[in-house]
């Protein structure tokens, strides 16, 4: 028994460097649960290995940032683990959306609920889900190769995010954590240009598609009387560039 344990303990280094097979990894992780010494050693060596990575940092291609940031808007996050449950290293499967041919990506996103989830519009009503054309349009913008992301906290709390594709001249506006308004008030979205503001619609769900946006335009959100207005009547709680 002693021999086996020692043998496993020697694996700390190979485990940290991912130099063991999947089967051994699982066995070793089970062992770690019952071997505080091994676990402590693994943690220390993992910090060391991280520094190997820091030491070989290479600036990635600039386009990567926008692609990753845009992808976060269509990627649902894992909830926290329930407290007190022992943590186990788990292999998680890749979310591979970025390098599909664009048309396929759009279809995939539209066909699944991925597009809805992506924008945090998980609480979509059945009515919204029927609005297939809209979801497809949203998916097209967030998966566009030139998708750009801007996010800001509103002066009334909550966050607004705008994903714009200049090529498509469309922008997806989504909100999260907004204060709920009395039934006499609504959040209204505006496309603001030097020639004035035009309504892009009322924020009913948590996202909305604005069409015909041009570079230099800005997206604004105001609180308006129910039903909306033709021109903003209050100071915007958020303004973002597109």
């Amino acid at each position: 028994m002693k021999v086996i344990r020692d043998d496993l303990h020697v694996l700390t280094g190979s485990y940290v460097l991912d130099a063991i097979s999947e089967a051994e990894r699982e066995e070793f992780e089970r062992h770690l649960q019952n071997c505080p010494t091994c676990d402590a050693e693994v943690r220390g060596l993992r910090e060391t290995a991280a520094r190997f990575a820091l030491a070989c940092a290479v600036t990635p291609p600039a386009r990567m940032e926008q692609q990753v940031l845009a992808a976060t808007y269509r990627t649902r996050q894992l909830p926290p683990l329930p407290a007190g449950r022992p943590r186990r290293e788990r292999r998680v499967h890749a979310v591979r959306v970025l390098h599909l041919p664009r048309r396929v990506a759009v279809l995939a996103a539209a066909a699944s609920v991925a597009a809805a989830v992506a924008l945090g519009i998980t609480q979509l009503s059945a009515q919204h889900q029927l609005d297939h054309a809209r979801d497809t349009a949203i998916a097209r913008v967030v998966t566009a190769p030139d998708a750009r992301v801007e996010a800001v906290r509103t002066s009334a709390g909550g966050n607004v995010t705008v994903v714009t594709s200049a090529a498509l001249r469309e922008a997806v506006v989504s909100t999260s954590g907004m204060a709920s308004l009395p039934s006499s008030r609504v959040y209204q979205v505006w496309v603001m240009s030097p020639s004035g503001a035009r309504s892009a619609g009322l924020m009913h769900g948590s996202s909305l598609l604005a069409s015909s946006v041009r570079p230099g335009d800005r997206i604004g959100i105001t609180v308006e009387p129910a039903g909306g207005t033709s021109k903003p009547t209050t100071t915007p709680i958020a303004v973002l560039p597109v």
């Binding site: 280094g13 290995a49 991280a50 990575a53 940031l69």
Partner: protein
């Protein structure tokens, strides 16, 4: 998009505190915090994936997956168990290694590895000449040649210890011991305190 420049060495303690704090915000869906995390980790993530995979296009793809994985699983980061950088870069290395193992004819890779190896910083792009880089280099030079070789083949080339053993023509147990002893020596040399 504007993003504050946070290019301090990632080993600075306040920087790491910051990364852990940002990851906690990311876990709650904060996209701005994720931009900061991206700024901090994209370089090392891409760098380590490049080391293992070599191919730039594939590396970019895998690096994107890793960064998205950081977004997706931020709630699983536990600061009590290690630094944010260690958590994230563990994901990066493992993902790169998984990719290599899932697709390459290992015999061909092993054959290639038997040829003279480029130094770990000979990737096409210039590795950022950081303090960290100097430090790792210096500590590496304090290892025995067999330790250094085993660690480099495992970490930078992504070989399993049985593959390393075959490449070097030594027993499995020998390789496991070399890797562990070498890493412990590296740890002590670099005085891992974040």
């Amino acid at each position: 998009m504007s993003r504050p420049d946070i290019r301090q060495p990632a080993s600075a303690p306040d920087c790491e505190l910051d990364l852990a704090a940002q990851l906690a915000l990311v876990a709650r869906g904060d996209h701005r915090a994720f931009e900061l995390v991206y700024g901090e980790l994209a370089g090392p993530v891409y760098g380590v994936v490049r080391q293992v995979l070599r191919d730039p296009a594939q590396s970019e793809e895998v690096a994107q997956e890793v960064l998205l994985e950081i977004w997706r699983t931020a709630s699983r980061f536990d600061p009590a168990r290690g630094s944010g950088a260690a958590w994230a870069l563990t994901i990066a290395h493992r993902r790169a290694v998984d990719r290599v193992r899932s697709e390459t004819a290992s015999s061909r890779r092993e054959q290639k590895a038997a040829e003279p190896q480029p130094a770990e910083d000979d990737v096409a792009e210039v590795v950022e000449a950081t303090l960290e880089h100097q430090r790792v280099r210096r500590c590496m030079s304090g290892l025995t040649e067999p330790q250094r070789e085993s660690i480099k083949l495992a970490y930078y080339s992504g070989y399993s210890y049985p593959q390393v053993a075959r490449l070097l023509g030594v027993a499995l147990g020998t390789v496991k011991t070399r890797i562990r002893d070498g890493l412990i020596r590296m740890r002590d040399c670099m005085e891992v305190t974040w």
